[in-house]
Symmetry: C2
Subunit: 240 residues, 2 copies
């Protein structure tokens, strides 16, 4: 039976990290909320499904795999990693990929807060002044800190065509690809300025993008384009 | 050989979630950075140790257990849960506790940003206006959303003396205790107002606090008091 992904239907968001892993693994899945509403799709059906799911998820994305209901992006990915060959088999390697994913998750939360530093429940336009300040601190301090960290790991691994956890590509590499493309979309100027310092990170992103099933997915209508409802938003004033 | 915890020596911070698990499990450990500097303690030694640790941690806390170096709070806790009986044995139960812990981690990050909504690298006094706005949104929207979520889980479990994942107390329950006490410290007014709605959460916190080894730890000098350098800070103006 196909897995079910339950996530907002109009954004990449955190669901995209799960979509990329499902696509790369070649797993049969249904992106339920993107179905027509009379087939269970749409935001109202999603909200209803979430309210009845057990154990109760705090927020989407949620994966239904066989009889399991799994929430929290990093937990979903760890499960897919174990069961679909996107993570090392032994405990130490798995824990390292788990760590990388949580560091990526922290970065993603900080990206979100560049445009919503006060409240996700208020409009961007109503928190634009603090957004300008937070985005500046993010571009100047946090983004370089995170990206140089991943660069250091890849350089330490020889940066020779492998990923963050060695030769085999893991779900953390897929996620880093998504973060790099997202940052390039949201902060093209800041990312262009950083390019000379993060050669191995950019090379890894290119390498992930060329993987057969990832490349096919990115060209398909299943890939929702970046947009200004998601986590990575291009507001030019936040990239100056 | 005793485990080593590597974390900032003057705050509870994220390290406290690890300390509580180590203490409750009765594990022999050294809180390395709290040693005198000629025995390897202090912030300079911590920074040096972190820069050489492999695989490279992004940030503390880091646990050294036997020959393993484990970073990211939730990964450390999952490992302690597996190896020291603070989590269910089967996969589904373990994943549920992982999910709970990541939801708690998200809440903790939001608490931090109530006093540092712009940049952790700038003084609170220099970001006080956005801090007032973010703290208000946190108290009115986010804190109730998180705490009612945990209340709903405990109520669903019968709230009969067990924890978030059933009868046995897990590391997520220890962490929820820490969050409850931290929120009561930082936002005493908001927490008092919420008390009637989160009876099961408060009862669980009391239950954890009375566990033998936790109670002994809390009374010991090993427990650093809440203070205004940590995540949970009492700035009265953020609780009005």
């Amino acid at each position: 039976m196909a897995y079910e992904l339950h996530y907002w239907p109009s954004i990449q968001g955190r669901g995209e990290f799960v979509r990329l892993a499902l696509e790369d693994a070649g797993v049969d899945y249904v992106d339920v909320a993107r179905l027509p509403s009379d087939q269970g799709g749409g935001e109202a059906n999603l909200a209803s499904w979430l309210s009845y799911a057990t154990p109760p998820p705090f927020a989407p994305p949620v994966l239904k795999a066989h009889d399991k209901i799994i929430a929290q992006t990093a937990v979903i990915l760890a499960w897919l990693g174990r069961h679909h060959d996107l993570a090392p088999v032994e405990e130490e390697g798995r824990m390292w990929v788990d760590q990388l994913q949580l560091t990526i998750a922290d970065l993603v939360a900080e990206v979100h807060d560049t445009h919503h530093p006060i409240s996700a429940g208020q409009y961007y336009e109503d928190q634009k002044a603090p957004a300008l300040a937070r985005a500046q601190a993010f571009r100047q301090e946090r983004m370089p800190k995170y990206l140089r960290y991943f660069e250091r790991i890849l350089a330490g691994n020889g940066a020779g065509g492998g990923g963050l956890a060695g030769a085999a590509i893991t779900y953390a590499d897929l996620s880093l690809f998504q973060v790099v493309r997202g940052l390039q979309y949201a902060f093209p100027n800041a990312m262009a300025a950083m390019a000379p310092d993060i050669g191995a990170v950019l090379t890894l992103a290119d390498q992930v993008e060329r993987r057969g099933r990832v490349a096919a997915y990115l060209k398909s209508p299943r890939r929702i384009p970046f947009n200004e409802e998601g986590i990575f938003r291009h507001y030019p004033e936040l990239d100056e």
